[in-house]
Every structure is written in C-alpha cells, then in structure tokens.
C-alpha cells in the first residue's frame, strides 16, 4: 500500500461517492456476470429467477477466466446494456 498526499484543495471527498440505490428494480436491466468459477452459474440461475420474479430484466455475461480482469469489450457491453450489475464471487 502506498500513501500519497492529496494534491487538491480538498473541497470534495477523496473517496469516490457511491451511486444512489435505485428505488426499484422493476423494469430495469440487471447484468449478472459469471466470473467462470465452478458452480457460479447455478447460483446465478437462482438469482435470475428471483430478479425476474421481482420484475427486472436479466442479461447474463461470462468472463473467459476468473484469473484475469474482464476484457474491455465485455465491460463495455455490460455498461451499455445494463442499468445495474451484480458481480458475484464464488467458492
């Protein structure tokens, strides 16, 4: 870990602010990213059922391998298609 000194006028918080939680997921497109860990798909299948029952639309995505960051194209596709994303770890 490196500690650096804030070079700014410190007018805004150093941490990036979280986005507002959406008031409802109804009608929203939610991306489910399978990171390719074994049996992660089973967990995500169940999540998809629950989310769709609550009125959300679900898009499924999958990383080629859990050992590397998601490819840029995949991240871009998720960002353009989805309002929300759930990225779950497995094991």
């Amino acid at each position: 870990m490196t500690i650096v000194l804030d070079p700014t006028g410190e007018q805004v918080p150093a941490e990036r602010a979280l986005l507002q939680r959406p008031p409802s997921i109804e009608g929203r497109t939610i991306g489910l990213l399978d990171i390719s860990k074994p049996r992660g798909n089973i967990f995500l299948d169940r999540l998809q059922q629950r989310l769709e029952a609550a009125g959300a639309r679900v898009e499924r995505f999958k990383k080629p391998t859990f050992t590397k960051p998601a490819p840029v194209d995949l991240r871009h596709e998720i960002a353009t298609k989805c309002d929300l994303v759930i990225e779950a770890l497995a094991d």
Binding site: T2, L5, P7, T8, G9, E10, A14
Partner: protein, 486 residues
C-alpha cells in the same frame, strides 16, 4: 536537514556522557577501548549503537534500532560523544580527537597508543537511503494534507489518473517522503500561505505546492521558482482566472531571469522552447498542476479553451542573458541583474520566424514586423501583446550594427503602424477588423510595452520565435514580474 520537530516528543538523553557508535565504522572500533576506559574511570557512560547490539562488547550498549535517538539528537557522524548536564546537551565532539574527548569527559590519558585523531563515519540516520524514511517516521506530522491510500494491487499511476489529479500524463506519486524532500527546497514553512488560487479561490500552502511539484517531476531546488510563479499567476494583474477560462488557446508562459536559471540548470539555448530540460518542463508543469488540482481549473470545467495548445502542459524557459547583446527582460522591467525573477505572460504556442538572408538590421526588423503583424489577426491592433524570442543569429545582426534593444523595438514598431483604411472591417474582403469610425486613424499593432523581447535559442539558425498573447490591459492579463525568493 533540519532536525527541529513538531509534535514529536524527543527522548531526553541520560545524564553524564553519551556515545553514539556503529560497528561498521572503523573509528568506532578504534575507540571502543577508550569507551571501556571511560566506564572504568567512573564516568556515567551510556552507549547507543546503531547496528550491532553486541558492539561495543562489555559496555551494555543500547540499540538505537529505529534511529530515533540518532535522529532526534541530530547525530551526523559516529562516533559522537555528548556531555549531558541537567537534561540538556552541554557539549559534543565527533570522530576521535584525543584532546576533545579529554576536555569533554574530564578524563586524562585517553586511548594511550591510539593516534591523535581519526575522522568519524557517517551516521546511519543521515544515510541517503534513510533520510527521507526517518523524516516521515519522526517529522511527518508537519504535513497537514489528507492522506489517500492506494491499495497494494492498484497501479500507482493509474490510481492517480483515476482521481483526476493529472494533466493527462503520468505523475510521480506524492508520498510523504517525497513531499518532505521537496520542502527542503524552500525556507518557507509548509503551512505558509502562497496564494489564493482561481478558479475555486482556494488558499494554497507551501505544502500543496510541494505536493504538486513532486507530481510534476520537479527537484527541490526548483521550489523557489515554482512558488514565485504561482504568486505571480494569482495576482490581479496576471489574472490566471481569465487566462484559464478564456476560449482562446493561451496558458501561463513562465520566463526566468537571473542567477537561479543556471543554479537549477534551466535551458536558454538549443531547443529552448522544446522538450528535454527537466527544470524548464517541471516548473511550468507544476504551476499548471496547482491550478488544476488546488484551484480546480480543468478543461471542460472553467477552462473553456476552444483549442488550447500543447504549452498548457508546461511552458517555461530561461533567457540567454550571457549571450545577449542587451539588458535582460527583467532588467528592462526594473530589476537588478543580480535578482532572480519570473515573468508570466499569457501566451499561445510559439511560431517560427524564418529570415535566413538577414545580414542587415533594417531588413530583419521588417521581417520581424511582418510576422508579428499576424498575431491573432493581421487586422487587429492593440488588443494583444506578444513576446519576440530573438534567436542568437538574428540578434547578432542587430548587435553587429550596434543597435540597442530599444532601437530594435522602435524599428519593428515603425513597420507596425497600421493605417485604419487597411484594417477596417471589410477591408481586403475580410470581415474582421476595427470599427468603421476608426478608419481615419493609424494604429500601432502593439500598445506601448506590449512587445516583449527575450534573447534565447540555439546558436545555429537564422530564426526567431513569436509567442502571441491574450487580451491585454486591466480587463485581461498583464505581463507580470516578481523576484524569486527562497
């Protein structure tokens, strides 16, 4: 390095005689028997060892493992012998000098058989690898800026980009050790206020300047110039707010005069306005990073430039005073030749003036005038200043003819008296120009004092450079000069 500390309790030394040694120092090994001699003669001796806890044997040395004793008591050489009376240091001697040791301890015939004197070795606490670490360990509390953690798995450069703290190029991570080292470049205290920086009008301390100077890649010795440049930028005269906010492509151009140019290794010769010199580039960049980070001035925010120019990353250079036939820009502006100064000018990118056939002064003055006329628009007089950076081969033409600097300017200006009929709106089929009611006037291209002449550049090439300005006068920006202080 200063050993004065803020908010760090200094461990007092025990009464009597204190010796600080390290095993890897031959002089310390040499005096080990002398220390035993002192202990045997009844002296209240305390030995601190910096490296080997068993050295010197038989003297129960205390290991100064974190070097706090050495740091707090400013040990620069080992062995150091200190006499402590009433909790305070009464005397000290460094290295081995028999007479000094005897005087300090009051014990005679020390170290029989030893040479009269031997110089000591460097203390571990002033080892170049340790200085900054210790400054953070014991002196870091002088810094007040918010600490921001970059996680071990984050790339430092990427993390600094992501926070919006860069000008688009990577910056050096402003760690506490680096910022403390940068602060060594000025005598001013870290919490000293330097300027109120537009556009957010934030009070900027010496510490914030140092942080951004680290990021810009500056060395500590550039600090006085960066501090002076920031002070000038934030004056009402220079008006960095307007220079930043304008849709025109200008930024602060920093011209440095006086002894500090050479002292910090600035370039005033070949490629003077280009890449490759650390001082030139880092000073200009530090100024712009402060305006971005402390002042909050960012492209797309308050910076509304339509095109900008690459010099908005950094535009800083030194005048070639040694090679100049004339007084420097700073002397012209009322400063002593011994003074170091910065002059700020709101400038666009430079353009080249070519006249390779120049041998006589008058034709060269005409060339320079013809090119200067086009600054911003050939039909717009008076509104914009300009810097003419005269190259040595062009300057030599004037020098050989015996022309003074003022004569050069006067000759150029004599060819820049623009008849209203030529520059009125619509003339030459060009809409831009002066209003119709000024048609009968003859107007100079530049206001009095609006043409600045600086001598700089490489020794080969019959070229000069023009740096066009921005709206001048009280409502725009004035070229502004200040002295550089420590």
């Amino acid at each position: 390095m200063s050993h004065t500390l803020v908010n760090v309790p200094i461990v007092p030394l025990p009464e009597g005689i204190v010796a600080v040694v390290k095993a890897e120092c031959e002089t310390c090994v040499l005096v080990a028997p002398v220390l035993r001699q002192l202990r045997q003669s009844g002296v209240a001796l305390t030995v601190y060892t910096q490296d080997d806890p068993t050295f010197p044997a038989d003297l129960d040395p205390q290991l100064d493992e974190d070097l706090s004793v050495s740091y707090h008591h400013a040990i620069e050489t080992v062995p150091t012998l200190i006499k402590v009376e009433g909790g305070a240091e009464a005397a000290r001697t460094v290295g081995w000098l028999r007479t000094s040791w005897e005087e300090l301890t009051g014990v005679d015939d020390l170290g029989p058989g030893l040479p009269e004197q031997r110089p000591g070795c460097g203390s571990l606490s002033v080892d170049p690898d340790m200085v900054d670490v210790l400054a953070v360990r014991f002196g870091g509390s002088v810094l007040r800026s918010r600490r921001v953690e970059i996680a071990a798995l984050e790339d430092e450069a990427e993390a600094l980009f992501d926070r919006g703290w860069t000008d688009g190029l990577p910056v050096v991570a402003p760690t506490e050790a680096r910022v403390l080292r940068m602060l060594q470049g000025t005598t001013r205290a870290p919490d000293d206020l330097v300027a109120v920086v537009p556009p957010d009008l934030v009070e900027c301390t010496v510490e914030k300047v140092a942080i951004n100077a680290v990021m810009a890649g500056a060395k500590p010795e550039y600090m006085p110039v960066i501090l002076a440049a920031l002070e000038v930028a934030c004056t009402d005269e220079f008006n960095i707010h307007g220079v930043l906010a304008t849709t025109m492509p200008v930024g602060p151009v920093v011209i440095v005069n006086g002894p500090i140019r050479k002292a910090i290794g600035m370039n005033s010769g070949g490629n003077v306005l280009g890449q490759g010199n650390r001082a030139n580039l880092a000073i200009g960049r530090a100024l712009q990073l402060i305006i971005r980070n402390v002042g909050g001035g960012r492209p797309g925010g308050v910076d509304r430039a339509a095109h900008g120019n690459p010099g908005k990353l950094s535009f800083c250079f030194a005048e070639d005073e040694e090679g100049s036939p004339w007084e420097s820009l700073a002397v012209e502006r009322g400063y002593s030749p011994d003074a170091s100064t910065v002059t700020l000018f709101p400038g666009e990118g430079p353009r080249c003036v070519v006249d390779q056939l120049a041998r006589e002064p008058e034709p060269l003055a005409r060339t320079l005038a013809a090119c200067l006329r086009t600054v911003q628009h050939p039909k717009l007089p008076l509104g914009f200043d300009a810097i003419l950076v005269l190259g040595p081969e062009h300057a030599r033409v004037f020098k050989e003819a015996g022309w003074s600097k003022q004569q050069v300017k006067d000759a150029i200006m004599s060819h820049l008296q623009l008849p209203g009929s030529e520059i009125v709106r619509g003339a030459d089929g060009i809409s831009e120009g002066i209003p119709e009611h000024l048609r009968d006037l003859t107007l100079p291209k530049f206001r009095p004092g609006g043409l600045l002449l600086v001598h700089a550049g490489g020794g080969a090439g019959l070229f000069s450079a023009i740096i066009g300005g921005w709206a001048n006068g009280d409502t725009g920006s004035q070229p502004t000069t200040r002295e550089v202080r420590a």
